[in-house]
């Protein structure tokens, strides 16, 4: 080794060996991004050993604070943290303005669509969306037909999964209109980041995320049944054994609302009450983190022990508001997803601000044929699944896996959609002793009562395994703090 090399070895900076591998990079773009310059300068000054130490401390803090999801065995519980990467993902003002606008538009379209399919069904009659995709959908609730709900808002809390392709364009990958989770990590990640790396954010103006709880409380009060003077809002959780329980606690505390389970609620004369130390008290708005199926054993699954008998009847009569509404799952289904750009145009008479990823619908002969012909280069997703389960990535699958998939596709084509592989953007990520590119997505959260508010940023999930495109926490994903520059 000559002198020159030795010297460069010593003064090598944190990002000098970083290579984004041809993907669009959130930090560098394809050839340098001006809005990340300040943070890059600061990162360059850090040493990998220091970064590692601070990262370990940050993860330990997550354990101590109990910001964990829990895996239960017979009698014990194992707490796992959502791995946290210390290098933030940065969004420019312009990027965020576009995302915010696109998310608001999409939420407006989802709500209009849901109101329509549960009332006059113009969208079906006008041939925009096929009838069986709506009525044949497992998440369509015919019980919701004709039910009037405050402000016609169905999706009060919405998480929209957005990816960035190799050109750097944002595209919607999935809508989450049922009970999207992850928002607590957005806020806790920020707190953690500011404690562990106060120097990194110094002098950089970042949009604040702390107001989520008060915005959520405001939204819930806005959708209380009419003429409720001081609405009582509660958060309904499946209980401590739910893997998202930490988030339920977090949101209840941020809203200043009681955290209840099904067993704490009771219905009488089609009104909902909570059992308190001082007897029964009426409840007006329920932010529920329980799926439709389990809400009310009288109306839906009769074996549900998590729900409240009679809740749906109280809801139908307008005595209590549920957030999100019952039956929103039909709108965030992967089968309906392909129609969302048309749904946006249909209700809002606007072009979508955020495009979809091009999608083949396998229930249509043309879509199935295209999928089968190009199976080795497509991502095939079962509809009606969540958490990244059952997703097959063509280019990364063996011949045998693809053959098995073909059989499944031909047997039950309407269960699948397919999309080209989106080469998700990457972000510099601390991996062992080096900084490497890892794929990321973004889930912004939108709150809608009488109007829509979007939390600046959202949850950046990162696929920590090398080359993995799947960012879900159940499949080796972690998260990053997301900075929207103010």
């Amino acid at each position: 080794m000559n002198r020159q090399n030795q010297k460069s070895e010593i003064s090598k900076s944190l990002l000098s060996d970083y290579n984004s591998g041809g993907y669009f990079c959130e930090m560098f773009g394809h050839s340098g991004l001006s809005h990340t310059e300040a943070i890059r300068d600061k990162l360059e000054k850090l040493e990998i050993s220091g970064l590692r130490r601070r990262s370990r401390n940050a993860e330990k803090e997550l354990f101590n604070l109990g910001i964990t999801f829990t895996v239960y065995t017979d009698r014990d519980s194992i707490d796992r943290i959502l791995p946290f990467d210390v290098i933030p993902r940065i969004l420019s003002q312009a990027d965020w303005a576009k995302i915010e606008k696109g998310v608001k538009q999409r939420v407006a379209a989802l709500n209009a669509f849901l109101h329509d399919i549960y009332h006059k069904q113009h969208v079906i009659k006008d041939g925009v969306v096929p009838i069986d995709l709506v009525k044949g959908n497992g998440n369509y609730r015919k019980e919701m037909c004709g039910v009037k709900i405050p402000h016609d808002t169905y999706v009060h809390i919405c998480g929209i999964d957005i990816v960035r392709d190799e050109k750097g364009s944002f595209r919607v990958l999935e809508d989450n209109a049922r009970t999207p989770s992850g928002v607590s990590y957005v806020i806790e990640n920020r707190h953690l980041m500011m404690r562990a790396f106060p120097d990194l954010a110094e002098g950089i103006l970042i949009a604040d995320v702390d107001s989520y709880g008060s915005q959520l409380a405001r939204t819930m009060k806005a959708v209380a049944p009419q003429n409720t003077r001081d609405p009582a809002v509660v958060l309904l959780s499946p209980g401590v054994y739910n893997s998202a329980y930490f988030e339920h606690v977090y949101l209840a505390r941020e809203m200043g609302a009681p955290l209840v389970e099904g067993q704490d609620l009771i219905t009488e004369n089609d009104k909902v009450y909570m059992k308190t130390t001082n007897g029964l008290q009426q409840v007006h708005v329920i932010y529920r983190r329980i799926d439709d199926d389990f809400l009310d054993p009288k109306a839906f699954r009769s074996d549900s022990a998590l729900g409240v008998p009679g809740l749906f009847e109280a809801y139908r009569k307008g005595n209590v508001t549920l957030a999100n509404a019952v039956g929103t799952g039909v709108a965030d289904d992967k089968a309906i997803y392909a129609y969302i750009p048309r749904i946006v145009r249909y209700y809002l008479d606007e072009d979508p601000v955020l495009e979809n990823v091009p999608t083949n619908i396998c229930r249509e002969p043309e879509g199935l044929a295209k999928t089968l012909a190009n199976i080795h280069e497509l991502v095939v997703k079962p509809v009606g699944e969540s958490g990244g389960y059952g997703v097959v990535i063509g280019p990364r699958s063996s011949k045998r896996q693809l053959q098995e998939l073909e059989i499944r596709l031909q047997k039950n084509p309407s269960n699948y959609i397919s999309q080209p592989v989106v080469n998700l953007s990457v972000c510099p990520t601390l991996c062992g002793r080096s900084i490497e590119p890892r794929h990321v997505d973004l889930r912004p959260f939108a709150l809608t009562g009488d109007s829509t508010w979007v939390l600046p940023g959202g949850l950046t999930r990162v696929a920590l395994r090398r080359n993995s495109l799947i960012v879900n926490s159940s499949q080796g994903g972690g998260s990053k703090d997301t900075w929207v520059l103010a």
Binding site: F63, N64, L65, G66, R75, D76, A232, G239, V240, Y245, V249, Y250, A252, R253, P258, L259, V260, E261, Q263, D264, I266, M274, K275, T276, T277, N278, G279, L280, Q281
Partner: protein, 315 residues
């Protein structure tokens, strides 16, 4: 302002009880070990089993009541629902369910503490090592209590937490009395008995307090009255009962709940038992019977609180 969800009020109550119980089990194990130091046969561990009325339960699963078996039963055995490990695990589960009602610091400390307790292994539980294990448990519980004192909002949840804590403390003090009841006759010069009473006092952090109030030769009746009635000693049963009464009144007045007649009766009954006392002519048998009655009265309050606040019959 809404009232507390009944189930969560119960969880907070048991959170207060659990931490207090764990601390006291650690105290009693420690004191039993020191108590038996002068005995050539070593500490009598069945005494602790009798104290908690656990003999039958213990004998079902154990052949020998030696130090290792009893210590493991009370410290780490998760099959024993009243072991320190089970109690702390349960407390953490309760804390998890009421995490939005307690302070972040309380939750964090308990979270760290419970993983420390979880890491205790049977090899750590030797007689020689017991005092260090016990004091680290006592310390963890006291840290928690200190954090609660400094950060827990004085609302309805706090009231139930305090009631749970003081009920448990009162109950545990009766057990300390019960350990000593057969040593009630201290002949002048009975060095062993004096040492043992002193140890009992130390186990409840009451030795110096007692000594400053009652200098001179130790009289068991003074000690009994100290543990039962002393107005300054925070573990005296009277103190605990007064705190319970205070918090029940808070719940009724500040938090606007009706006084429950049945609960009020039980509370008065406890006060009455306490005021009546074990009688002037203290015999081991009398003291033992009195302690029994006291324990029952304390248990009755717990049941009455459950009926009137946590499990009201919904019409």
């Amino acid at each position: 302002m809404h009232s507390l969800i009944a189930r969560l009020a119960s969880n907070i109550f048991w959170l207060g009880r659990g931490l207090e119980r764990a601390e006291n089990i650690a105290r009693i194990l420690y004191i039993n070990e020191t108590y038996g130091r002068d005995d050539p046969k070593g500490p009598d561990w069945t005494r602790v089993l009798r104290l908690y009325a656990d003999l039958d339960r213990f004998n079902k699963t154990h052949d020998l009541s030696n130090a290792a078996a009893v210590l493991s039963f009370y410290v780490i055995d998760r099959d024993n629902p009243t072991s320190i490990a089970s109690t702390i695990f349960e407390a953490r589960q309760n804390a998890r369910s009421v995490r939005h009602l307690i302070s972040t610091e309380m939750w964090t400390q308990l979270n760290i503490f419970s993983s420390e307790v979880r890491s205790i292994r049977s090899r750590d539980l030797t007689t020689a090592n017991l005092s260090s294990v016990a004091s680290s448990i006592i310390n963890g519980c006291q840290n928690y209590e200190g954090i609660a004192e400094g950060t827990f909002m004085r609302g309805e949840p706090w009231c139930f937490y305090q009631i749970g804590k003081y009920l448990e403390r009162a109950d545990q003090t009766t057990r300390i009395l019960d350990i000593g009841y057969d040593r009630i006759h201290v002949d002048k010069g009975d060095a062993v008995a004096t040492v043992q009473w002193n140890l009992l006092l130390r186990s409840v952090s009451g030795y110096h307090a007692f000594r400053s109030k009652y200098p001179g030769v130790l009289q068991p009746k003074d000690m009994v009255s100290f543990l039962l009635y002393d107005a300054e000693f925070p573990r005296a049963i009277k103190q605990c009962v007064d705190r319970i009464t205070d918090r029940l009144r808070d719940i009724e007045t500040r938090h606007g709940m009706r006084q429950d007649a049945q609960l009020e009766n039980k509370r008065r009954a406890l006060e009455f038992t306490l005021e009546t006392g074990p009688g002037r002519n203290l015999t081991p048998n009398r003291l033992h019977l009195f302690v029994d009655t006291l324990q029952q009265s304390i248990g009755n309050i717990s049941v009455a609180i459950d009926n009137s606040y946590f499990n009201q019959i919904i019409r």
